[in-house]
Subunit: 117 residues, 4 copies
Amino acid sequence: MSSSDQGLTALATPPRCIADFCLVPIGTPTASVSQEVAQVQRLLKKSGLKYSMHSAGTTVEGSWDDVMRVIGQCHAMLHERGVVRIQSDIRVGTRTDKKQGFKDKVEAVEKLLKDNE
Amino acid sequence: MSSSDQGLTALATPPRCIADFCLVPIGTPTASVSQEVAQVQRLLKKSGLKYSMHSAGTTVEGSWDDVMRVIGQCHAMLHERGVVRIQSDIRVGTRTDKKQGFKDKVEAVEKLLKDNE
Amino acid sequence: MSSSDQGLTALATPPRCIADFCLVPIGTPTASVSQEVAQVQRLLKKSGLKYSMHSAGTTVEGSWDDVMRVIGQCHAMLHERGVVRIQSDIRVGTRTDKKQGFKDKVEAVEKLLKDNE
Amino acid sequence: MSSSDQGLTALATPPRCIADFCLVPIGTPTASVSQEVAQVQRLLKKSGLKYSMHSAGTTVEGSWDDVMRVIGQCHAMLHERGVVRIQSDIRVGTRTDKKQGFKDKVEAVEKLLKDNE
């Protein structure tokens, strides 16, 4: 293996990311998913990461590894509680030009909307 | 064409849906997307549909056709303003068991979290 | 309403798009979704649109309205067959700089990979 | 912290998952993303994980941690090459009822389509 190969394999994941995930249990007896979503919120609270629930998912911010681990733990927790299949959609963004939390993103847009009223 | 084929082709799209979309312009000079997101919010306001912006996208509810048309119009509007390529991620849900708006979904989870505190 | 407002509301959706969708039935008795995915493939075949199934979804190309209508019809068809709740994730792209089909995208990448071998 | 809290925090992520991701660079000079996608394919090849590219993304299978790390490394690699902002959409599925690779999913649907012809 060349040193450039080793470089890629050892490449560190991003120190910061904002991820928004929407988790769907499959093959559950009812069409309601609110029980599962509530359990996910409890796990996120314990994680210590900054997060925010909205009607179409939950936004989390932190290092790439921390954020992805906690989403994986949500899957694992629901499997433990008997859900045999889970599908999540994750939108994840990383940037190197500035540190931006998920609240800053909404504020930037709201400022623009106000300025042009 | 058999009558069953005609049935499928003429099938009406769902009368209600909740969609959450995250639109990303590609090949723009800057890494900021807040200008584009603000323009999307203005177009949504004019559409008359119920919508709500959050840090990872915008949630809209209405008939399938109305919701998908307005998201398509967001693409068309940004193309008109010079963005040559746009990618959106849309999470869309439909259900026949009950009428549920996007605010009801959050309230259902919050109620569960409160009950179990 | 000003004439510019009317312009936005009447804005045509894009004449071409490539969409990739992954449909998930919720509250079905089993964790298998292959029956539903097969029914979706049959409906797509009848639509006359160009499409291609892969393990994580189905890619369709056509006008924005045609593509979104057929995905909505997939939801409607499965609701008719008794699925009470359906969630889809749709990745949709539009561009004005060139006409590119979904096969062209893969070929462009494969060419780059070959050139640099 | 109660022992049940500790249990949640230490929860292992799923041993297997199938993820499909679509990575989009933001703020790049051109609307083409094929260079970036080609670099992602090279990194995946070196990872040793099973993967498959299609026109709307790349499917990878492996343990949750391995799969998420390699996607994070794709972001990190493109940042190193000067892309300041990257957005990915990841569809990820886990199941405990059977071991299913991404090729098996397509075959299950194709079998159904054949049986009913």
